[in-house]
Symmetry: C2
Subunit: 379 residues, 2 copies
Amino acid sequence: MKVRFDRIARVQAAMREHGLIAIVVINHDDYRYLFGTDRSQPRALIPFQGPPELIAFTGEEPELRAALAQGEVRVFGSVGGQIHDIVGRVREIAESDPFGAVAAGARPKVGMQMWFHTPAFLVDLFRQVNPEVELVSSDPVMDPLRSIKDADELAAMTEAQRIAGEGMDRARALLRPGVSAHEVATEALYAMWRAGAEGTSTPIYVNFGVETCMLHGRISPAPLERGQLALVDLTPQVDGYCANLSRTFVLGQPDARQAELLAAYREIVAAVRAEMRPGVTMAQLDERAKAAAARHGLAEYQVYGIGHGIGLRFEEPPAPTIIPPHKALPLATGMTVTIGHPVLAIPGFGGARFEDVYRLTAGGPEPLFEYPIDPVVLA
Amino acid sequence: MKVRFDRIARVQAAMREHGLIAIVVINHDDYRYLFGTDRSQPRALIPFQGPPELIAFTGEEPELRAALAQGEVRVFGSVGGQIHDIVGRVREIAESDPFGAVAAGARPKVGMQMWFHTPAFLVDLFRQVNPEVELVSSDPVMDPLRSIKDADELAAMTEAQRIAGEGMDRARALLRPGVSAHEVATEALYAMWRAGAEGTSTPIYVNFGVETCMLHGRISPAPLERGQLALVDLTPQVDGYCANLSRTFVLGQPDARQAELLAAYREIVAAVRAEMRPGVTMAQLDERAKAAAARHGLAEYQVYGIGHGIGLRFEEPPAPTIIPPHKALPLATGMTVTIGHPVLAIPGFGGARFEDVYRLTAGGPEPLFEYPIDPVVLA
């Protein structure tokens, strides 16, 4: 456990700019970002100034205190007392009214991450027990900091992407008539764990035949047949950082329509990569993707959202399929994004995608790990 | 995909009792329960009467329509149109005002699951775009139905628990000086997938030494040493149904304090099992657990919440550590619950737990799968 006081200081500076008196952390990704480790139940409070405060189970206290070293972090007592502890601290900070909200007739603002892993019932509970503050999204504070990756983060993400490549090698080697998607997933997962993965940020998806049309897939129930498409999507994690590698294969020589589909997606990726540079938006990249699909007569099947940010969250800003205004968010140097997110699916026939992770530099996109696109499997 | 029209009919009957005009399903577990399958983005609307409606991506439509057979399910078009589709349908049903809410000067109620996987930002968005209805928790409708397991559900859960046993066998066999927690987790996970697991409902936890104190654990960074405690927690899934098997080991002959800790937890489990019968509450079971810990001088370390419901969700009602009023929820025949949830942790020393899943019968608890408690590993 290595508390990132440098990041906490930057977060607190942004909190003061945005008038947040505190951020309540209940998500693994923010906890990792600020404390350099994870716990089953991450709980912390970052005040607008001063040391961060961890809310921990009594049994964990000695271990956390030892790891924290500087002793600059308060550790609270009981599980049952978590709500009480947080309410008490929020009230204390709110009463000091550092940004004059109360004086202006408003409520002091407390931030919380507003993403898939922030449960509505906990937010409703927080609002109910802390009526004197306004709960707002902490995303405007956290997103700009988190979306630009430092060298440590890039190293972890590169390693995760390399591990995804090992899983994909294993998956590809298993494709033969009669193999089950479950076996492919089992072996790919094992290969990734042995290579150092600590988990995956989404389930593994292995889809065969017409099921390659499924938006983000699942594990197909029927075994692979000769002539079918196979789509594998792998998302291993290293130190909490996410990878994303998708490849589409065809078992045997592709027929004309499969070949067109695969060629179209390669061209989509190439066209989008050629356009990626600081300042470009996902909407502009989507136009390029659509134009490439159109050149293959497949424009009607190209759905928007060609990529998304990635880091300690599987989807981070820009995440245009989740937060529509992110379509207009300009890419910046240091961001890490995937290209190849949506499946190009011909309903009733099959779909294809090739997804990789890139870091954006002033000179354009650099793949974190170069993995071949080699879809024809002759087994 | 096998739509469970029987369950949908029971849900709709309960909706009419509770005055819900619709339930919006965005969670995997409810989707599995009602549609007998899962998708990466489960989206459905259950009106208070009539056929359920799936919201699906265009590319998925033929596959879903084919699987649905009866054609009693509407399939909507685009991803981008999901919000629009749901808003339109909610408005249409709300305007019919079947339960007279509008006539009474109130808003018609729409239900949504309120648990860990219902994101606050989607709930806030729903409220914003559907101001004419009141969004409420669907838990009072769904929980009573889902907490009583039928034969199919018990079969899947028993299989999941058996698979957890295979993972635990593999984990135990690997415990030796110098083994890493990551290796133990890797091999246990692989054993469970090979045995048929489709995933795990929580990360795998493998903790060594003082880290056995961590509330729900993690993967310890340092290798196992002779004389240390090791705690393994496995949660494989089959058809979406969850298992939960935890065992604590000691590498070598336990010292007096370790022996006391392990004996105390065995006695806690035995005391709680002896008390389990229809009508008993988790609070009463916790009293038994505390008394057993007290007989070993460890009462101060025993935290409440000795068990929880389990099924398509890893934690279901009764879930006293999440929803405090569940402490008073009486157990009923047909419920499936874990016993052994909290770690009995001596801060700075180590912790122990033995967790299994039981179904409640009129005659008492029956373990879904009997797995030995055999903590001393002489390797």
